[in-house]
Symmetry: C2
Subunit: 129 residues, 2 copies
DNA sequence: TATTGACTTAGAGTAAACTTTAAGGATTAA
DNA sequence: TTAATCCTTAAAGTTTACTCTAAGTCAATA
């Protein structure tokens, strides 16, 4: 059992954000202590892990909420969930490919400017003599 | 020479956004026709290509503006520009690695749910008989 | 017991990057 | 010439995902 602060540290999400996620239906059924404090389980942490994974790869909170709700709706939503994840996976692959393409461009630029810089510094050297 | 609409089509940025970028100092010195219409050159398109590359890999417009301003300031900013690009390149590499890690996780999830779905559908089949 | 830390609701504020609107006038291509 | 495109300024609106505040109460830890 983890307090909201512990979970905040583990996930990197603020306590505010954790409560916000719960209110929005991203994370459901968080247990409470007799006094009403949230007590997160390892399962909750796992769920949060998936939420962060989807979020950090470009899925909107709205879509994540949809996915979570489907999960709670039971087996008959398995097909839709698989489709949803598959599609997201395709997007991720496309995104990685795009990033790779951009990386090549930036690498080229870095080399280009580095060479220019080298030439410039050499010129400075000569002029200083 | 391209009109704002042509550039909009080529870059995928709206005419509004192109004017907005110009106002913000992201793209400077766009030529004008005698009547005052913007006339983009191939160089402008190239500059826009770099802007989109940086933007789509997570650089903020503010940082991009800074880079563009440095470029206009001449050779003595070469070092800073190289540093800026190098750092961005490191971020990109880290981001791609992170995405790859998340992709593994999502792939695992897809397979896991696919298997569950297969089992579920088999069960449905049996029950239908 | 004293001091943190947690709880609630409800709403306001923030940041980025656009996007839209409005109003009126000028230019360009067919 | 006429329809389509472009220009300007200035400001308001949009979206997402938080982030913060307030006010008052309650719980947990040393």
């Amino acid at each position: 059992m983890y307090s909201i602060q512990e979970v905040s540290k583990k996930t990197g999400l603020s306590a505010h954000t954790l409560r916000f996620y719960e209110k929005e239906g991203l994370l459901c059924h968080v247990e409470r202590s007799p006094g009403g404090f949230r007590q997160y389980t390892d399962e909750d942490l796992e769920a949060l892990g998936l939420i962060c994974c989807l979020k950090n790869t470009g899925m909107s909170l709205q879509e994540i909420t949809r996915f979570v709700q489907l999960t709670h709706a039971g087996e008959q939503t398995l097909k839709e969930r698989v489709e949803l994840l598959r599609e997201h996976r395709e997007n991720m692959i496309a995104r990685i490919a795009e990033m790779q393409k951009y990386l090549d461009k930036v690498t080229w630029k870095v080399n280009f400017f580095s060479e220019k810089l080298r030439a410039y510094e050499e010129k400075q050297q000569r002029e200083a003599q």
